[in-house]
Amino acid sequence: MSVTSLPPAAEPTPSAAWLFARRNPTLVAGGAILALMTLAAIAAPLFAGDPITINPARRLRPPSSEHWLGTDQLGRDVFARVVWGARVSLQVGLLVAIVSVALGTIIGLIVGYFRTADALITRFMDGIMAIPAILLAIAFVALAGASVWIVIVAIVLPEIPRVVRLVRSVVLSVREAPYVDAARAGGTRLHVIMTRHILPSTIAPLIVQATYICAAAIIVESALSFLGAGVPPETPTWGSMIAQSRSFLPRAPWTVFAPGFALALVVLSVNLLGDGLRDWLDPRSGRRG
């Protein structure tokens, strides 16, 4: 299946868009929430306010018209911190999805096409997969130091083997297909066979896999921040907000639950988007990749 054979995207006319939304409610709902939160994250400097300045005089204030989500134990505005925190989460989620899919696809194409590379690299990937992802990421950040880039690398590392497995299985199934044989017999160069004849088959499952990786990456990033092994603590992130405020849970639950619900909402919308894309791109599959 190539991209061009996919069902056409929604037309801008209201009735067609409505029909598309009716048929793919999870896809549209997930996409809409995600788009809204992305917009808010990008526009944070314009409207969210100051997430950094400490003001002990107004600490632990409950939500009010002045501070929509209250203030935290250092008097910082929780709403501003939640909106700014979305930046780290979405950035990490998006970049991890792109980088791990890109690297995983390259390795997967090589592994699937060349049998000699297969045995060695697949074993190596099994080795990485055997290490629990969050432990690998924690150890990596602890050793290499805290920064957004280190966190991204730490999360990409355990995700690559999952992409490699997916691409490898697709390549193995199309490698012997008559049209690939024909291309080879016709003297088509290797990189053309790879990009024009094999790669298109992997695109639909990869798009779905990318959304699941994005959701997983957002959760792992927040868990790393929560455990104190994430991005530098000055940067507002949802995980570190929860970690810093948790001892104030009885007095000021909003300091823990505001970032918590934002996190859950983003991950939920990405997962809904993934489920919707899966059903849309391949209506027969009922299983998670």
Binding site: D126, I131, L135, L227, G228, L249, G260
Partner: protein, 313 residues
């Protein structure tokens, strides 16, 4: 069969060997000198140099690896930089709490998830199915620390029917031990339940559309008997596979859950080790967790012949 088991054991050993290489490299290739870390902040350059010689850090990397690996094979995972205790005995001391949460989670999550999956598949397309699957998606999306604090807030702080946090050893008081495990196990089990329920549903829907199910229904067998004896039995392999694969989720979740509920388990051990830059402990815990995961997956593979007698190796 015997030759298959031998082959699987061989590849398991190979994977474990690769894991140990990765874990070793992770520590050695990271920026910073392990000797400087071990010696502490106030060490002089001479002290660090002496330590380097003592630890053999000036030898070639493969030699260092073989020496370290030889020790690991003898059950020596090194000594904690912080407490000077052997890493293996530190892990041993913390194992009870972690195993308690993990087994309680399995005990709650697996029966619940399989029931949910079977019911959703039986009622596929109805509101029951949609509600259960919405719960499953939510289960995937709620990070353990958000669920954990929500449960603590509602059941411990507001309703005051559950302990806030902490752990009671089983030898001390069995009742309080179990009571303290409820919230952590529910927290840890949510994502696991969601994963197993989804796979169970997908597999069951496939099986329920097959001819032998129609035959069973035509014979007039009661539906519960068809669902449990005919359909679920045949769904065993994918379900057991995902239970095995999901162990990785539990290991990751345990680290977070133990932090939320302040439980002195292996997860806390590794989090504290990170704060203290206690590399031998980090390395040891990763190695042990990976080994457990790989061995559990081996057991999963071997259990297929028991679940489905048609599978022969």
């Amino acid at each position: 069969m015997a030759s298959y088991i031998l082959k699987r054991l061989g590849s398991t050993a190979l994977v474990l060997f690769l894991v140990s290489i990765l874990v070793f490299l992770l520590l050695r290739l990271a920026p910073g000198d392990p000797a400087a870390v071990l010696a502490g902040d106030n060490a002089s350059p001479e002290q660090i140099a002496r330590l380097r010689v003592m630890l053999g850090l000036d030898d070639a990397l493969p030699i260092q690896f073989l020496r370290w690996f030889g020790q690991v094979l003898q059950g020596n995972l090194g000594v904690s930089v912080y407490s000077n205790e052997p890493v293996l005995s530190l892990i041993g001391q913390r194992a009870e709490a972690t195993l308690s949460i993990t087994f309680t989670t399995l005990l709650i999550a697996v029966p619940l998830a399989v029931t949910m999956g079977v019911v959703a598949a039986h009622r596929a397309g109805t509101w029951v199915d949609r509600a259960l699957m919405l719960f499953a998606v939510a289960g995937f999306s709620l990070p353990a620390f958000v669920v954990g604090y929500l449960l603590v807030y509602v059941f411990a702080l507001q309703l005051q029917v559950m302990p806030v946090q902490g752990y009671v050893p089983i030898a001390e008081d069995v009742g309080r031990w179990a009571w303290h495990l409820v919230l952590p196990a529910v927290t840890l089990g949510l994502i696991y339940t969601a994963l197993i329920a989804r796979i169970t549903r997908a597999t069951m829907i496939e099986i329920l559309s097959e001819d032998f199910i129609r035959t069973a229904r035509a014979k007039g067998l009661p539906m519960t008997r068809i669902l449990l004896r005919h359909a679920l039995r045949n769904a065993g392999v994918p379900i057991v596979t995902v239970i095995g694969i999901g162990i990785a989720l539990l290991i990751g979740g345990v680290v977070v859950t133990e932090t939320v509920f302040n439980i002195p388990g292996i997860g806390r051990l590794v989090v504290d080790a990170i704060a203290r830059r206690d590399y031998p402990v980090i390395q040891g815990v990763i190695l042990v967790c990976s080994a457990i995961y790989v061995l559990l997956n081996l057991l999963t593979d071997l259990s297929y012949t028991l679940i489905d007698p048609r599978i022969r190796y």
